[in-house]
């Protein structure tokens, strides 16, 4: 049986993380599962955790009045979901809905924030990894805004 520590260490988001940091993070982690159609979180909910996706696919949606929510991105195996736990007011700004059966590791945001405050080396490592993800998502959003398929 796989241990939580090994699963976390093998997730691409935490690849090559110092084993000591992995051990610290395990204390904030738990296995979670969602069925197709389940919401992992909704806009306005407290952002008290984030997810390392192990299997399945999740839709990130924006609620739009008088119409169905708009899916702005999908995330799958090996990806990470959620960074609103990092910054006040710790509230989700989007919805996340499982498009299919989903397995993930949920990391408690408050728990990890406390550990990062106590261990700034861990905090810097976590922030560097999130900064890379945020940069990639920002670039992807810019490309969506460019409407790159508009003219051929």
């Amino acid at each position: 049986m796989e241990t939580l520590e090994r699963i976390i260490a093998e997730h691409p988001f935490l690849a090559d993380l110092d084993p000591g940091f992995t051990s610290l993070m395990v204390g904030c982690a738990k296995n979670v599962r969602f069925n197709r159609g389940d919401y992992l979180f909704r806009e306005g909910d407290p952002a008290d955790q984030f997810y390392l996706i192990r299997e399945g696919k999740v839709a990130v949606e924006i609620f739009a009045p008088q119409r169905t929510p708009i899916i702005v991105s999908t995330l799958g195996e090996g990806e990470i979901l959620g960074w609103s736990w990092l910054l006040p007011p710790y509230q989700w700004k989007l919805n996340a809905r499982a498009l299919e059966y989903l397995r993930a590791i949920a990391l408690d945001g408050k728990c990890l924030r406390n550990k990062c405050e106590q261990n700034h080396d861990l905090g810097y490592e976590v922030l560097k990894r999130f900064a890379r993800i945020i940069e990639q998502r920002l670039e992807a959003t810019r490309m969506q805004l460019l409407d790159v398929y508009a003219v051929r």
Binding site: G76, D147, V148, Y149, R152
Partner: protein, 280 residues
């Protein structure tokens, strides 16, 4: 790879429309067969023809059919203006004029024994469909086939049934993505470059063929290089305002190149300096 200009390159041959099928709300596929006296149906994947709608105008359209089907030519056309609208609203049995095929094809000979990565955006899948047919028709000659296809929304995706059918073929991976999905869309959402992380690529033994708007191709080539593909193994299909199709008129000039004659398929390393020039 370049095809010699035929002596009759300026002579339009009559073809009859045998089928018009709707791919999306604005895109149609036409199947043409030669009328009596004309028999030019052979082409290389990646080449284009000049289609003349009598009384309306002539326009360059990539061939999107199976190169092994020698009795007809197939074109996928997005209706965006007067001439394209006139073309897609022709009825079965009507005649149009065809010149060509023209230009360079995709490097299928060079790709033999290699994995083939097809990256398409929007209607850019049409000029790449003959590549997919060729690889699937001659499966043992090629390695894995990876198709990455992006479009604005689910309703803009071309060849949806075929995409599903290709995904079931052995040694073939098909990933599609849309910029914006509705609640019923269960596929990926994000630009086509976001699919690379799910693709099973072996960069050192792969040839990539890319077609779509130039801005998309710029991002895709950057991603392919990030994944380790060499510039010499990346090929792009360019589009400019082709008129004569034989390199006389200069309408399609792109830096030192005439797209109609030296292209439309180019090696990325040939084009890279031009793709970085503003307003070219």
């Amino acid at each position: 790879m370049a095809t010699a200009v035929k002596a009759d390159a300026m002579v339009t041959q009559p073809y009859l429309i045998r089928d018009v099928s709707k791919e999306t709300y604005d895109t149609f596929t036409l199947k043409l067969e030669p009328d009596k006296g004309s028999n030019h149906t052979q082409f290389q994947p990646g080449q284009f023809s000049m289609l003349w709608v009598f009384g309306v105008g002539e326009l360059p359209i990539s061939i999107s059919g199976d190169p092994d089907e020698e009795e007809r030519l197939v074109y996928t056309v997005r209706s965006v203006g007067q001439a394209t609208n006139a073309l897609v609203t022709r009825s079965v049995g009507e005649a149009i004029g065809v010149r060509g095929p023209f230009g360079t094809g995709w490097p299928l000979e060079a790709a033999r024994g290699h994995d083939v990565i097809v990256v398409a955006g929007g209607i850019g899948l049409a000029p790449l469909r003959p590549v997919i047919y060729e690889v699937l028709n001659h499966r043992k000659d090629y390695g894995r086939l990876v198709i990455l296809y992006g479009a604005r929304s689910p309703r803009d995706l071309l060849y949806r049934k075929e995409l599903a059918s290709w995904a079931r073929q052995k040694e073939t991976q098909v990933l599609t993505s849309v910029d914006y999905g509705g609640m019923s869309w269960r596929g990926h959402v994000g630009v086509v470059t976001s699919l690379f992380k799910y693709a099973r690529l072996k960069p050192s033994r792969s040839v990539a063929m890319v077609c779509g708007p130039e801005i998309m191709m710029r991002f895709v080539t950057r991603e392919l290089e990030t994944y380790g593909l060499s510039r010499s193994d990346i090929f792009l299909s360019m589009e400019r305002n082709m008129k004569c199709a034989v390199g006389f008129c200069g309408h399609c000039q792109y830096g030192p190149h005439f797209i109609c004659k030296e292209g439309p398929v180019f090696r990325f390393e040939q084009l890279r300096p031009l793709l970085e020039k503003y307003e070219l």
